[in-house]
Amino acid sequence: MNFKKITLVLILLMTVLVTTACAPKTVDPAPVIDEEKILTLATQYTIATLNPYKTSSDGDGYIIRQVMEPLVSGITGDLRPLLAESWENIDDLTWQFKLRENAYWHEGNAVYPEGANAQVKAEDVKASFDFVLDPANKAQYQARLGQVIKQVDVVDEFTVRFTTNEPSAWFLTDIHRVPIFSLKALEVLGQDVFDFTPIGTGPFKFVEYVPDDKIVLEKNDKYFIEPNLDKVIYRIIPDQAVATVALKTGEVDIALQIPVTEVASAKATEGIRVIRTSGGGAYRYVAFNCKSDLFSDKKVREAIAYAINMDAAVEAIFGDPLLGERAYCSVVPGVPGYSDCSDLWEYNVDKAKSILAELGWTLGSDGILQKDGVKFSFVLKTPSDAARSKLGIIVATDLKNIGIDCKPQASEFATLVDDMNSSNFDMGISGGYGGEDGLFMMFHSTEGGGPKIQYANPDVDNLLGTAKVTVDLEEREALLIEAARLIAADRPHLPAYLEYWQLGLSESVKDFDEIPSVYIPLTSPYRNVDIVK
């Protein structure tokens, strides 16, 4: 082959590449076939499973919740009937649910052929819960639900009754985690196929899952409300910045998470809106290990609280209330137990210094406080996300000003969770529980969960323990508020901020904003999302 031929081949190859690349002047918009209404969403989460009783990931839930229905659904503090039509408390221990009589298992699959007309009845609900409650089945929420639910009974064809072990304040929250699934499907499909082939009663039927690429759902014609959308396609895009680009180019209609750095540019793009995702925000805080040598004394914690200018820190981190706001209370606004605790916090460096001086801490020659030969020096463990690692640096800087040697150390997430959950820290930055049982989980000395801050106040335990078994909302709320204020005064946490997530959506997406989440069905008695291009 001579020089000319080689050159020719190279030129041809390059031309093919370039012309193929440049031929169409526009990028594929979200695919439109005839008049089909297709909603394309970008999700950052890889699918771990589409099995409702095994999943623990929000990303899986985004899909499962469109296909399968729990008895009730909604956001914290606002749970509404879904597969159930209504419910009543017969007494403090008994919850009775009346099911919708127009719910059918999805058809056109290996389990239920077209025209099967298999209705979902009370026995199906009982079967789902019995299955989840059986430890042998290793369901994700078995441990938690097992503590709450004593038994499930069929009252009649469409009525199911739950008996709890003790009065349960958070019963609805607990059962909303369990979408009702078909045991027949598990039997027919076998475990491996069942794990990735959800069959339910929801507004959308599962069509296809291409690993790490996309999930396709289509409308369920037998749903009691006709969905406006014909298809819902989830594209898995791990990089949120790329998902934002895809939203701007029209390749997706909704980007489920817009990173903080892209919010301004997305907002400035014509035809795109950026809104907060539903929920009151994620509570972020600085936690003390209340049994560590340095922080077991409440007065030391108080001094630290005085020394940190948290308002300035939050302003420096976010600078936009759409992204994050100062928190004063360990409960998220909108959740029972929230109260404005801003009166309990003050930035006052002099007070901080004088408290520490009273406790015997004196400045050493190196500018660091010391007492009995021990330096006031410790590591502040933080997650590696931008906001919380910044918070760590700001806290450390404020503490340096009063002679405390605080070394912020950002850790990889799993490592941090390990350390925090095993009390292997002096001070750490973490994220809180946004649910109704948040205070209980974070601060109950023996039955709580999450980071082990080793905080124990019998009064708080008592209030939280009573709240847990108080079904009446008003009574419960009063107990929780009292607990929240007691906790704030004890300073096991320094509440920092509520962090909000943003999602971006095209102007063509309609009826989505009221509950801006896909953890809740896109078609339900409360909304019917549409796309009008």
Binding site: M1, F3, V27, A48, D195, V242, V245, A414, G432
Partner: protein
């Protein structure tokens, strides 16, 4: 030749054993507990000790290190790499299902790298010291220094967002035609191939310069052969030998680069699988994935070694 290949194949066994031991050990000492992650322990919840113990036993994580390692190896030699902790899917089919996507990306990157580097390197060598040489060297230096994730993002912003010429993410759909596949491939393959192109350009240049100064090239010229024939038939073929060596070695780094590129471009390949597995401490998936990729890498190097003989008959595989 056959003897040589068999010998080389046998040599891969200790290599793979060493790799598996290394990966196993690193995972063992890495902080982060897969049991807690499986039970969805997070900042906001802890798990009940009974469930913890049950899952730990289920996964075999209650056994000592060496027992677990021997278990793993004895199953692996039978072709059973186990199941993922997270998805409970079998490792081997899960990795192999994503392999075509990764191979498509890496070979396209390789092609792009070769299409750029060989002509540019040859040009720089035959016009040594000229403006062409300077441009080639400059481009090579810049490209080799570009961080892959940054360059990938830059390509997306420029070609997908600003010019709207190419899609910003994902793999093409063959049902929509080969054009769709190529259009989805161009940006990730370019992002992945650029730094290799830079390296190969410099290699080609120096290798060509060396070969062009050899006596046989002078002889070829003195015989009155055309300069093009001298360059492309006599010189380039010999200059390619060290380049092919580098290519074999660089195939591994292309696979490594694919991890970043696949994540940025939402490319459903083996690299994405590895990233997810690492994030979730999915030990069997990380081990299986690494072993499969390493085996592929060793095979590519073996093929490269065999290619030497084809390109340069002086290299013999028989023992003397």
């Amino acid at each position: 030749m056959t003897k040589y290949i068999i010998k080389r194949l046998l040599q891969t066994i200790p290599t793979l054993l060493a790799i598996s031991f290394l990966v196993f050990s690193i995972l063992y000492i890495t902080p982060g507990d897969p049991v807690l992650l499986m039970l969805a322990a997070s900042e906001t919840s802890t798990v009940d000790p009974a469930s913890y113990a049950a899952v730990q036993k289920d996964l075999g994580l209650d056994k000592p290190f060496f027992v677990r390692y021997v278990d793993f190896i004895s199953k692996a030699v039978q072709g059973d790499l186990g199941r993922s902790y997270i998805t409970n899917q079998k490792i081997f089919p899960t990795v192999m299902e994503r392999m075509p996507a990764t191979l498509q990306l890496t070979f396209s990157a390789l092609l792009i790298a070769l299409l750029i580097s060989i002509p540019l390197g040859v040009l720089a060598a035959i016009k040594q010291g000229s403006i062409w040489d300077n441009i080639a060297t400059f481009l090579a230096t810049i490209s080799v220094s570009l961080p892959g994730f940054w360059f990938g993002m830059l390509l997306i912003i420029f070609f997908a967002l600003n010019l709207r010429l190419l899609p910003s993410f994902g793999m093409g759909d063959i049902d929509k035609g080969i054009g769709d596949v190529i259009r989805h491939l161009i940006l990730p393959a370019t992002a992945l191939g650029t730094s290799l192109a830079a390296m190969l350009t410099r290699m080609t240049r120096s290798s060509m310069i060396e070969v062009l100064n050899q006596d046989y090239v002078t002889v070829a010229r003195s015989k009155g052969l055309k300069e093009r024939t001298v360059i492309y038939i006599h010189a380039l073929k010999n200059a390619l030998i060290p380049i092919i060596t580098v290519l074999g070695a660089q195939f591994g780094s292309l696979l490594g680069g694919a991890i970043v590129t696949e994540t940025i471009f939402a490319w459903p390949g083996v690299g994405r699988l590895a990233v997810n597995a690492i994030g979730k401490r999915d030990f069997p998936m990380i081990q299986g994935n690494t072993l499969i990729i390493c085996t592929g890498f060793i095979m590519v190097n073996l093929i490269v070694d065999i290619l030497y003989g084809v390109l340069d008959p002086r290299i013999s595989f028989t023992e003397k």
